[in-house]
């Protein structure tokens, strides 16, 4: 018995919503970043599910590219968090409320 594609789409939607709540609620910059990873991953699941449904490999290629971009994004984002931590001695986004360095 194959799982209907709609189940995967709804699961991806739930995971994306949880990631959104995480970005809005949490104050720790690292946990916010993890929530963004969760959202990216949910979108990847959607892409692969549609790729399966439509019998088309382009969705899997796009998910692959999105993983590569996520890796690059994590590297730069964590570097920014480290440099902010050096400046403010805190990883909380509430302490970074000024544009001035």
């Amino acid at each position: 018995m194959r799982t209907p594609i709609a189940y995967y789409l709804i699961l991806a939607g739930i995971l994306f919503a949880i990631g959104t709540v995480g970005v809005l609620v949490r104050r720790n910059a690292l946990v916010i970043f993890m929530s963004i990873e969760l959202q990216l991953n949910a979108v990847n699941l959607t892409l692969v599910a549609f790729s399966r449904q439509l019998g088309d490999l382009n969705g899997q290629v796009l998910a692959f590219f999105s993983m590569v971009v996520a890796a690059a994004e994590v590297v730069v984002g964590l570097a920014i968090i480290i440099s902010i931590f050096r400046l403010r001695q805190s990883a909380s986004v509430d302490d970074v409320n000024l544009l001035r360095g």
Binding site: R2, T3, P4, I5, A6, Y7, Y8, L9, I10, L11, A12, G13, I14, L15, F16, A17, I18, G19, V21, L24, R26, R27, N28, L30, V31, M34, S35, E37, N41, N44, V48, S51, Q53, G55, L57, Q60, V61, A63, F64, F65, M67, V68, V69, A70, A71, A72, E73, V74, V75, V76, L78, A79, I80, I81, I82, R86, L87, R88, S92, D94
Partner: protein
């Protein structure tokens, strides 16, 4: 069999994601996110994408999460975040919006794709000669230019991380006091 694995792992996946939000310790959040990433990897396997299954485990659960844990350890583990809300009612508003988003996706999927167990086309023809070979054929014919551009992107990201995280040698001590405005020179 397919359906059984889905129904076992989907609650695990959602529970790990929800628990991730409620952990005060960032290390616990990271470990729960790894659980979530592993379940999503198994879903990739169920969806006939074994290459993405492996890449998900190596790149996401392996490399990216190790990087996260490394930075958490670097910044110090015991820093619990304050639970004081800067904006009043922001937390409940955010949770309401999140539930609304999930319901919206649910109804959109029901309307657009349908929850029925429609016949899913076979994927064996697309994965002819193995998923990796089929994916490589698409990647190196239709997507050669984006593939090369990603290599530039990764190099730029690595250089950017080095520049951003470098410790400035002669930089003045970091202060949070407001900048002093220099007095205008008296005109003789």
């Amino acid at each position: 069999m397919d359906l059984v694995i889905f129904w076992v792992l989907a609650p695990v996946s959602v529970a790990a994601a929800v628990l991730m939000l409620f952990q005060r310790n960032a290390v616990h959040s990271a470990l729960l996110l790894i659980v979530n990433l592993f379940t999503v990897a198994v879903f990739f396997l169920l969806l006939d994408a074994p290459f993405l299954f492996v890449v998900q485990i190596i790149v996401y659960a392996g490399a990216i999460m190790v990087l996260f844990l490394f930075v958490i350890m670097l910044l110090g583990v015991s820093r619990d975040e304050s639970l004081v809300e800067r904006l009043k009612g922001q937390r409940w508003l955010a949770i309401t919006l999140g539930v609304g988003l999930a319901l919206e996706v649910f109804f959109a999927v029901r309307l657009g794709v349908g929850l029925s167990r429609g016949a899913i086309p076979e994927f064996t023809a697309v994965n002819e000669g193995g998923n990796v070979q089929a994916l490589a054929k698409v990647l190196f014919t239709d997507y050669v230019l984006p593939f090369e551009v990603t290599s530039i992107l990764l190099i730029v990201a690595a250089v950017a991380a080095m520049v951003l995280a470098r410790r400035q040698e002669a930089a003045p001590a970091p202060t949070t006091t407001p900048l002093e405005v220099p007095e205008p020179e008296p005109v003789p």
